[in-house]
Amino acid sequence: MTDSAWLRLVGLTKRFGGVSAVDDLDLEHRAGGVLGLIGPNGAGKTTVFNMLSGAILPTSGRIELDGHDVTGLRPDQMNGRGVSRTFQNLEIFGSLSVIDNVLVARERYVRGGALGAMLGLPSGRRAAREQEAFARELLARNGLVGLADEPAASLPYGLQRRVEVARALASQPRLLLLDEPLAGLSRAESTSFATLMDQVTDEGVTVLLVEHDVTTVMSVSDRVVVLDHGSLLADGPPDAVAADPRVRAAYLGEELDA
């Protein structure tokens, strides 16, 4: 297992003031599949998530990706290493069109810089056209056909979620971090989520899923990790984790039927 570990957290710790949100967490994961991260409120899921995406710095410990130490990289650098994410409370670019939302994640492929752009140098134009074609195809695959030029802010909530996922996929990530992707979605919208997960993992993307809806996590994940008070509580295949009495105890009072 050690040799094939692709994502590795070593003694990862985050303290806010005196409180440990994540406490000495060790975790290894092979590339591929859906890794579900669950836990009661305040278990430290979001903190792990934010450290992985580079949004906050760990107090101590290490994050390794594909054998490289990526601890302390900024969000854009993590993105460059193949990590992209969505947001629990939608963070779409409201003033941009749908396609522009996706194209932001492709800027690195259109070199030429600000000065070249201002002078209107033609060098970047072909690259820009290529990226636009890429983005249109991506939108089509994510059920956003015909909406490319709409202002993103004008879309209904469910579609905005899709825009976010499309934007995250636009970076062609190797690790996709999904933060509560089902929050606020209808039943019908949630069911298409499983299909999306299959599609994404088929392309070789590893998914880390933080989700409140335990039922869905259990059904789409290949492996489930349970956090409680910032530490690892249980780890294993979904049905084993669901059967674990400690997990049931931690979720006492919360529904857990899988």
Partner: protein, 334 residues
Amino acid sequence: MRVLVTKLAPYAVFVGVLLLVPAVFTRVPFFTMANAVQMGILAIATLGLVLLAGFAGQISIGQAAFYGIGAYSSAILTTRAGMPPLGGVVVGAVLCGLAAYLVGSFIFRVRGHYLALATLAFGLMLGNIARQLEITGGASGIVDIPQLALGPLIITGDLRYYYLVAAVLLVVIVLARNLVNSAFGRSLRALGDSEIAAASSGVDLARHKRVVFVVAAVFASVAGSLYAHWVTFVDYHTLDLLLSIQLLIMATVGGLRTVWGAPVGAFLVLTLSQAAQELLPRLSSNIGGEFEIAVFGLALILVLLFLPSGVAGGVLGLLKRRRRTAPRVPTDAS
């Protein structure tokens, strides 16, 4: 061909307006060509602020600092180092860009209110220092700055100077529009909407902010230089807080999210100020024209509350909506 026409149409309209200005301003008693020059100069500086505060969402209440750097550079380089005026403008812009690069490398450690206060403090500090130093002429400033010359042609008179300023304005508008419509510009707007999402999509926030800060500073610097060579005099008032605020007002009134907001804002605010200076003293004998500041404040509040995208932004929005609804039927049929 059709694409080219739609692409150039806004510029054609703008050039038309710029050419119309002298015809109107020399005939209407209310305006003078000096007003037009002033509008053009401030529009150039405002345009930088539109990019910085409007598109990238990074507010600056210290933009006059860079305007001042441009003006003083021109003044010092031409009067003390014997450089030709055009050299003063260019070298000033380069120096100002370097200064902005330096400041921009660490000022964006803070955001939002803190950034507003930091830019404010920077501007005030510079203004105070310019008033003290010997090289900037202390409180009395620098006089006898040479007028601008293109080769042997010295540009004298407000009308000629207007054409020069209008040409520069056109150039910076083209540059700004190119930037806004590029991949880089898209990332700027993205980080203006959500920094965390932009960063997570691979946008290097620090670099993008620094670059747009430099662009805004260079525009302000060119404007400041043009001003210095026009009035042939510069003192610490060019770095005044009031100018920083005035630029912010122009950008807001014109429209923060469109490059056309800069010229429209400069025109409207200066017209309003001109009107206030003429009208206020008529209301009461002991009210001087300098009390236009009250009008500025009220205009700003009204625009922000009732026309949040500014005058140019509002008009563009209307045009867009009409274009959207009008040709819908034929396109749907085809």
